[in-house]
């Protein structure tokens, strides 16, 4: 049934069942049941420490669940993390750039995938989406402002054209202009490649312009879901 569902493209993006995530021995996230659809962006909202970042890491296959399962597009995900990490990418709350030029930062994931034909064009496209000109690629990592670093980190995810883009607090410490850019890019990635964005944020006002579906988290649990 599941395989059938996936073929028809109707399986949810993620199906979470009895999920527990822990740091060391301390469980911090419990989700009994949650389906995330690929119909549009979904936001996770909640106070600091409510488990949003932890959930995003689990959805990015960076954190092995202590218990429970996550299915991705109808398929089990255990022992496939390496491969699945190429379908899903995460922009960390504090973006981190590799110690290389902007171009090499954006090209890194493409090179890792062996997707090196039209590399220059794909890097330029990603830079353009975040409002940076192609010759910005020559800049070294230590010559960027905070806002520029953030844009480059985002561009290096966009270049990958993944099915899922996970964004952790994308508007924290970001000025108005960059917040608007972030919202525009989420829409553009969806139109271009059908990328689904899942966003952790407390910025309710900003989220209003970005997505409808909200999942409210509290103390590592889902409190409520609103459409």
């Amino acid at each position: 049934m599941m395989r059938q569902a996936q073929k028809n493209g109707t399986a949810p993006l993620y199906e979470i069942r009895d999920l527990v995530c822990a740091y060391g021995d301390e469980p911090v996230l419990h989700i009994d049941r949650l389906d995330i659809s690929s119909d549009g962006p979904t936001a996770f909202v909640g106070h600091n420490g409510s488990g949003k970042s932890t959930l995003l890491k689990a959805l990015a296959f960076l954190l092995k669940p202590a218990a429970g399962t996550i299915r991705f597009l109808g398929e089990p995900t255990e022992e496939r993390e390496g491969e699945l990490r190429r379908e899903v990418t995460l922009l960390l709350q504090e973006p981190y750039l590799l110690r290389r030029s902007v171009f090499e930062n954006v090209a890194y994931g493409l090179r890792a995938r062996g997707a090196t034909d039209r590399l220059v064009e794909r890097v330029a496209e990603a830079l353009q989406m975040v409002g940076l000109p192609p010759d910005f690629g020559k800049r070294e990592w230590f010559r960027l402002s905070g806002g520029e670093s953030r844009r480059v980190a985002l561009a290096s995810r966009l270049a990958l054209r993944t099915k899922v883009l996970l964004l952790d607090e994308p508007t924290a410490n970001v000025d108005e202009e960059n917040a608007l850019l972030m919202a525009r890019v989420i829409g553009e990635a969806r139109e271009k490649w059908g990328t689904v964005s899942l966003i952790a944020s407390h910025d309710i006002q900003w989220l209003d312009g970005v997505c409808g579906r909200r999942i409210l988290m509290r103390r590592g649990k889902i409190e409520s879901i609103s459409a």
Binding site: T89, L90, L92, Y96, Y108, G109, F142, A153, S156
Partner: protein, 231 residues
Amino acid sequence: MSYLSEGFIQGLGLIFTMNEEVWTAVITTLKLSFLSMAVTLALGIPGGFILGYFSFPGRRILRIMVDTLLSIPTVVVGLFVYAFISNRGPLGGYSLLFSIPGMAIGQTILALPIVVALTASAVESVDDRLRLTLLTLGARGKRLALSTLWESRHQILLAAVTAYGRVTAEVGVSMMIGGNIKWHTRTITTAITLETGKGEFSTGIALGVLLLGLSFVLNWSLAALRRRTAS
């Protein structure tokens, strides 16, 4: 104290007139340190990386051993290497005693723990955001490992410079293994020891100034590097 200032002036004279004895010692120091550093880096960077990146049984005790070797006295290394390469030693047949390669063995033993320990802690202490970033960009296996090493390159260079400092400044190994032979195994530091012993301050001062200059150039480049790493 006038003999000191006179010595200083004469010393500068020796440098600028390219005094052959002085420059031979400098060249020997450079040759020797180049050789020991080449071997040290070739072994130390991969060794340190393995120690810092992978977890395997015995890793902790190995770390502690490497850290212990960081402070090994140069004369102890000199003693051991001497015992190995002297005529009666197991490596006696290679005529390494009183030769630059023999001295390089000793210096490598001094420098290797520095490069291994500092590389290991550089790789171990990489920002968790780096690891997550590489993973979210889809790196795995060999690429993940090599990118981690590459992203730590500034700290590894610091390790190399630190090791280079120890190698050029040491006396024990050069003296015991090299024998301070004029035109052959006499380095800056062993020459200073000898000249001072003879009361020849000017040559000693000339050599000291050159050694300081060498260290200054190194630290200058290091400071430039630090500025980059900080950002």
